[in-house]
Amino acid sequence: MPERGYYGQFGGSFIPEILVATFDELIQAFEEAKADPGFWKAYETLMGSYSCRPTPLSYAENLTEHFGGARIYIKREDLNHTGAHKANNVMGQGLLVKRMGKSRVIAETGAGQHGVATATMAAKFGFDCTIYMGEVDVQRQRPNVFWMERLGATVVPVTEGTRILKDAINEAFRDWVTNMDDTHYALGTACGPHPFPEMVTWFQSIIGQEARGQVLKETGRLPTRVYACVGGGSNAMGVFSGFLDDDVELVGVEAGGRGLDTGAHAARLASRDASLGVAQGYKTYFLQDDDGQMRETHSVAAGLDYVGVSPILSHLKESGRVRFAAATDQEVVDALSLTIRKEGLIPALESAHGFVQAFKEAPELSRDDVILINQSGRGDKDIFTVADAFDDPNWRQFIRDKAEEYDAR
């Protein structure tokens, strides 16, 4: 019987019978790719020529001065092609799709970053592409919808359930159970049934491999702490992978939304609101009620607005290897603002969650300490949300003028 992918009590593969053969095929393709050193080489070559790997490590000198504690370094996943770490996973899965001989890819997306990355990969490799996106997220991440469509993807707004990321995942599964013969589901995070948590982590581990070497080279030591935001957990697992065997503290930062005590958040591991459950094909902590119905979540960052979390991270939380914290919407906007002004960097709202916790802790540490923040993506896509958060009058005027211009046509 094939390996089912458990991490302690978390993970597994809770899939309808109709998908079992498809998963067996995927597991086999993944195992073969892992065993073939040529595959990883081809992956690195592709990411070096088509994306921007290795992505740089930036020393945030002004932020370091500002907080007067640890030296702050930032791993620049925002400089990937398409603007986020999502490209790492997607390009890797694209190479697997070619090996499996399939001709169509589907994906869910929250922030739209994974959707754009998948549509880009499909355009490059010549695959048909359908992206499922919750109606709420279509509204708040319009620029990404625009680009997905330009890239040739069909974007399906999901009107079921809570109309966000988890509902998009359900719809992608419904497509897959119908079209698995020619279609691969490129799941965008380290969640879902085996082998996705392991496979997505494997592709994203390129972040941690690079970062470890870069920090060592730059500072002559390992970081004291590493911070990453946690939606499904793929960028966090990616960067943490480089440091799991080191004496380095790993900190995952979830969406605190309007505050952990309001219930309007997406903190599965940093709050007490989540409990063990089985949904979307895997066992982990879910934000659910006593009956096992999934609850509504909230975050200013669409990519973190999710009920479940990587089973690998649940395991690392239980074993004490990774510490979890939450950042509220307001803290995130403040940290974003500060980072833009001090460093000229524009992290995605998702990524800014990691910055919040790093900023809280940097002053407690000394100048000998080094902390590393994973900037998982760039914030351009968030221009509408951020402009609203800053309540920017000029932006509002611009939108009004633009609307008038359209109306006049």
């Binding site: 079992v20 053969a21 359900n170 419904r174 949904a279 009956d291």
Partner: protein, 254 residues
Amino acid sequence: MLAETLRARRQEREILLMTHIVMGYPSFDASLRVVEAMVEAGVEIMELQIPFSEPIADGPVILHANQGSLQAGSTVERCLTFGEEVARRFDIPFLLMSYYNILFKYGVEAFAQRMAEAGLAGAIVPDLPPEEAGDYLAAMAAHDLATVFIFSPNTSDERMARIAAVAQGLVYCVARKGVTGADTAFSDELDAYLARCRTATDLPLALGFGVKDRADVDFLRGRVDLAVIGTQTIRVMEEQGVDAIKPFIEGLRS
């Protein structure tokens, strides 16, 4: 036990009917009237679905019924009480159908015990493959409850044998790829698949996904033991009301 009951009924009829409802959709009152209509129309066994917020194997119609039931305030406890009520009142076997999280959160052993006390015959859990079903199999066996598992057209012979080894009561054969509710083209192409199912188990075989009218049921006569009518009765109820259900079911076999 369930298998024997169904085999006995099969002696009397060439094809048995298994129907499905989502409990609490649109209300528990309506659900009760639908069960009543179905039993009066002669269905031999029913599936009672406990709604779940993430029903990934279900198509739009059953998905909406799940959401509608939850929005109307359904709870797992209320569904179990309903199951108990109909199991006491009507003389046919009832199966619970739901996704694994519902059982898992309740506690699998407690859930099985409660099912047994309620007089229910067994369960179908479409996102629980045998590989993950250790606790469930133990709990269901301890309470003499049937564990219905699923075959699909792309299930290998070897895997069918493995599933058959833990299946009880009947085996649910999915007619095709896809989710519930979409059309199925019933043709001889199914025969090779159904022959494989027949070889894998001597339990009664039920075929579901896309069975919607008398022609489909006629096609299944002699091919399987039970035809499963799921989505179509929800459509009939939504379009024509609860009173249309009895004539609809009667018309499937008359």
